[in-house]
């Protein structure tokens, strides 16, 4: 891995973020005059003018854009029109909950999905393979809102074993994490299976077997590291989509995460909060991609970054 490659990747990441900021700015302005959206027809023209002057909305669009960029760079994401609190702080207050839920779900998905997929590949055509694939397909075919509701009905309503909503202890996390993680586990299982099968069919696996290496060594030291290369890419997508993916689950379980904040803010037209969240999602995506690039280069010496060419 070399400096020029890293610098180029960082530059590209920064460019992507700038593009996201710009798109958010344009979309929010296209949505209409924020003053009118906020006050509707209830307020006189004079108040609107004063409001626009207060927030700089009477400036030319270019100036508004530059001012917007400047405030973002200074960490100022504006104030929530509902509570008057800083949008940044509102979001950061919720973020730990989303990270907690998403992290646990993802961990669950990785720990279940990848071993299941690898096991299916190693026992291709067997009963294990068929059961794993059936489970995988079913798991990502069931929408989160259905799975969440079913889990609540069975484990919270019927048996009363687990809490159905809100936060508290580790038990509150079980149902939402299962809901969110199941689909991901299914996706990972499928990808892990096909990646592993692809690698197991490669001539170098036959070569490793032919030189008398034990089956364990062939599988874990030769096949798995090569199969991990495509899996890292998929995992990157999942991490990047974590916040957006959690919206439905957070709503079902009344989980006080960023996803629910986003839904509430959209309903209330709390633009500052919405754009803060959208930018945060964009930043997560970009960061996840960067991590994927670095990890892939580390796993795959054929990539240009790894060769240092």
């Amino acid at each position: 891995m070399n400096g020029a490659w890293m610098a180029a990747k960082l530059l590209r990441a920064a460019a992507t973020l700038l593009l996201a900021v710009t798109v958010v700015f344009i979309v929010l302005r296209l949505a209409g005059d924020p003053a009118e959206i906020l006050f509707g027809d209830n307020v006189g023209e004079e108040s609107l003018i004063r409001y626009r002057a207060l927030w700089g909305l009477d400036q030319p669009l270019g100036v508004q854009y530059l001012l917007y960029l400047r405030s973002l760079l200074l960490g100022d994401f504006g104030l929530s029109s509902q509570s008057g609190a800083s949008a940044w702080q509102l979001m950061m207050g919720r973020l730990p909950y989303t990270l907690q839920l998403g992290g646990v779900s993802l961990l669950l998905a990785v720990l279940i999905g990848i071993p299941a997929g690898v096991a299916a590949a190693l026992a291709r055509g067997s009963l294990t393979d068929r059961v794993v694939m059936l489970a995988a397909v079913s798991s990502f075919c069931i929408p989160n809102f259905v799975l969440g509701v079913v889990l609540i009905l069975v484990f919270a309503e019927q048996f009363g074993w687990l809490p159905s909503h809100g936060t508290g202890g580790i038990w509150h996390l079980v149902l939402p994490a299962l809901t969110l993680g199941t689909g991901w586990a299914g996706v990972l299982a499928r990808f892990a299976r096909s990646a592993m099968l692809e690698v197991l069919g490669q001539p170098y696996i036959r070569g490793a077997r032919a030189s008398g290496l034990t089956e364990g060594r062939v599988r874990w030291r030769h096949a798995l590291p090569n199969a991990a290369i495509p899996l890292v890419t998929i995992l990157g997508f999942m991490v990047g989509g974590l916040v957006a993916g959690a919206i439905v689950t957070e709503s079902i379980f009344a989980w006080p995460g960023v996803g629910r904040l986003l839904v509430d803010s959209v309903k209330l037209r709390d633009l500052a909060v919405v754009q803060a969240i959208v930018l945060m999602v964009a930043a997560t995506m970009v960061a996840a991609n960067l991590v994927v690039d670095v990890l892939s280069a580390w796993l795959n010496p054929r990539l240009p970054a790894a060769t240092g060419a």
Binding site: G207, G212, L213, P225, L299, P301
Partner: protein, 673 residues
């Protein structure tokens, strides 16, 4: 598995065999249920220290037999018969025993060395892993053994190469590394499964010489699997010829090659174009190898055999022992084959004829890759440098050289697919005659891989008619008639017009590609390795077809190939390329008869010949072609040239004419014919 009645046949040998295969059968699960037998009872003995050649076309079962011997086939495959190695029954070995045998006393190297190495680990990691497995080494002794292992197979700078990943190394280097890994278990038997098929001819000669040296040094036995009779003739004392999962003829190589008795063996030898002479017509066997599971009744070869009689169709002949030889044929040939009808090649169209293509100092430079358009990574690559030639109407020019020499790049520039970065291409006026007449009607390309060149979802007729549709020639009915005419011209059954490509064999597909290329009736064809993907018997058929079409339609042909034997059969004039430059050009008779450039001489000497007595006495060409990133100064061949002088290191030689029509870019060549 029917291993119960295991009484190996009595062999008339003095030494007990090292590996004995007895009645080996292999069945694979067929698509749509059931089993398909691909190997039908193979008996083979390999004695200590001997070299056995296993020859046959792809699909004949030779690789499967070898993999079966080590139980390396996928679990779905069923192996029958008995495999005895040094008295132990491999079929009954437990996993642990089998694993210590594999890579231990029996080692195997495979065809595509770059793919047979793990791409995400260094050469050193993979080599050390095998050393730990088979020699139990650790620490400094391990590292020292790894370095010694690479040095032993002729890899320069071994300590450095240990840190490299497989993709850093050339194919030849990868194969050397594979051989080093195979030797870690000190094998008494090495199975080499097409070890040089993916390599260039000079690299092939190096690897074969290395294998011979190692064998002499260690006394190990070797099974050399190859489809190339030349490779077998040069390396093996004994040979077994396989056809459709059975051995059809077996015996000492000298005897088999001098008096081949099975019509298939004789057909294989006759199908192979020679480097030293040109036959009037390659005696191509008709048809192709039958698919497993669709074998004809009786002798599997009978449908392609000109000696077949009713008895051949009724019964599968047995493999009969006759002294040291074995033969499976009811009506074998007797005595040596008739001498081939050697012809003097006509020098082709007259040199003063109309030029179709004139290339002047053609060059192609690939700019370095850039990151975000800012940082240049690596240097520019000069793939082709100062290439000049003239291709006259009706002439067949062969462009030969090893992979990476720039021959395909030249072909693509002539075809208009790449724009030269230096120099000029001038074409016959008809290319630009009518404004709006595009280049495809002037020259058509034929590529190497016929399956990749055909759309799997379109019927054959539609694909052949497509150029006519694009150029709005004729109507539906006339196009249909034209397709049938073209199918007939390339020797295909018109019934195949409505078939999809997957139903066709490799040879049939290449015929379709030829038919499509001829649809616009171009005066010129550019063929880039058109026969490399084909087996020798099918290759002979398509070579004859192309030669016939070329003569009948007076086509001008630019023929790109690494196979000098094929070039010898097809081309009237030849240009040899090395590292982006033409080093020699001459009429084929002269080039093959008295090559002048040291590289041309080395290239010709490296071509394996099935003719007896042609065993290589010379040292194969050392080293590898230079990286196009860092070509050596002066003559690009000088680092590998035995005759290089100080001048060669500083000044690049220009092409100069030594004889009528024979030009050489060499400071040393004098032209003593």
């Amino acid at each position: 598995m029917d291993v119960a009645l295991a009484v190996p046949p009595v062999t008339r040998v003095d030494t007990p065999p090292l590996l004995a295969l007895w009645q080996i059968t292999v069945d694979f699960a067929a698509r749509g249920g059931g089993m398909v037998r691909v190997v039908h009872g193979i008996d083979l003995d390999i004695r200590p220290g001997e070299t056995l050649g296993l020859v046959g076309e792809s699909g004949s079962g030779k690789s499967v037999t070898c993999l079966a011997a080590l139980r390396l086939l996928p679990a779905e495959a069923q192996i029958g018969g008995r495999i005895a190695f040094d008295g132990a029954d491999i079929a009954r070995m437990g996993a642990a025993q089998l694993q210590s045998l594999r890579g231990g006393r029996i080692a195997i190297v495979f065809q595509d060395p770059a793919a047979a190495l793990n791409p995400t680990q260094t050469i050193g990691w993979q080599l050390r892993e095998r050393l730990v497995r088979h020699q139990g080494l650790r620490g400094e002794a391990l590292q020292a053994a790894a370095i010694a292992a690479l040095a032993r197979v002729g890899i320069a700078d071994p300590a450095q190469r240990l840190e490299d990943y497989p993709h850093h190394l050339s194919g030849g280097m990868c194969q050397r590394a594979m051989i080093a890994m195979a030797l870690t278990g000190k094998p008494s038997l090495l199975i080499a499964d097409e070890p040089t098929t993916a390599l260039d001819v000079t690299t092939q000669a190096q690897i074969l010489a290395l294998l011979r040296d190692l064998q002499r040094e260690t006394g190990m036995a070797m099974v050399l699997v190859s489809h190339d009779l030349g490779v077998i003739a040069e390396s093996c004392a004994r040979v077994a010829v396989m056809y459709a999962g059975r051995i059809v003829e077996q015996g000492p190589t000298t005897e088999i090659f001098a008096t081949p008795r099975h019509p298939y063996t004789r057909g294989l030898l006759d199908s192979l174009p020679r480097i030293d002479h040109v036959v009037a017509r390659l005696a191509a066997m008709p048809g192709a190898l039958p698919q497993p599971g669709r074998l004809p009744p009786g002798c599997s070869f009978a449908p392609r055999c000109d000696r077949a009689r009713p008895a051949c169709v009724a019964n599968m002949p047995r493999l009969e022992m006759q002294g040291a030889r074995a033969l499976r044929c009811l009506h074998p040939h007797d005595g040596p084959p008739a001498p081939p009808g050697i012809v003097q090649m006509e020098p082709g169209a007259d040199q003063q004829g109309v030029p179709m293509v004139e290339a002047q100092a053609l060059g192609l430079r690939y700019a370095p890759r850039r990151l975000l358009g800012l940082f240049a990574r690596g240097a520019a690559v000069q793939a082709v440098d100062g290439v000049s030639f003239t291709l006259h109407r009706g002439e067949t020019l062969g462009l030969v050289g090893e992979s990476g020499c720039g021959k395909s790049t030249v072909a693509r520039m002539v075809a208009g697919l790449l724009t030269p970065s230096n120099g000029a291409l001038r074409f016959a006026p008809e290319r630009n005659a009518a404004p709006g007449v595009p280049a495809p009607r002037f020259a058509q390309l034929v590529f190497q891989d016929p399956l990749g060149a055909l759309d799997p979802r379109q019927r054959i007729a539609a694909q052949i008619a497509e150029p006519l549709e694009i150029h709005r020639i004729g109507n539906a009915a006339s196009r249909r008639a034209e397709v049938l005419r073209l199918l007939d011209a390339v020797g295909l059954d018109p019934a195949l017009a409505e078939a999809f490509p997957h139903r066709l064999s490799g040879g049939q597909r290449q015929r379709v590609v030829l038919a499509r290329a001829l649809a616009l009736r171009p005066p010129m064809l550019i063929a880039d390795e058109p026969f490399s993907a084909l087996d020798v018997s099918v290759q002979a058929q398509v070579i004859e077809l192309l030669a016939e079409l070329q003569a009948r339609e007076a086509l001008t042909l630019l023929f790109i190939s690494h196979d000098l034997r094929v070039v010898r059969r097809i081309c009237g004039r030849v240009a040899v390329m090395y590292a982006g430059r033409i080093v020699e050009t001459a009429p084929a008779e002269r080039l093959f008869g008295s090559p002048q450039h040291p590289y041309t001489q080395a290239l010709l000497a490296a071509v394996p010949s099935p003719d007896l007595g042609a065993r290589p006495s010379h040292q194969p060409l050392r080293g590898e072609p230079p990286s196009p990133l860092r070509p050596p100064p002066g003559c690009r061949f000088h680092p590998r040239c035995a005759m290089a002088r100080p001048l060669c290191r500083v000044e690049a030689p220009a092409l100069r004419e030594l004889f009528q029509g024979q030009a050489v870019a060499c400071h040393v060549a004098h032209g003593d014919a």
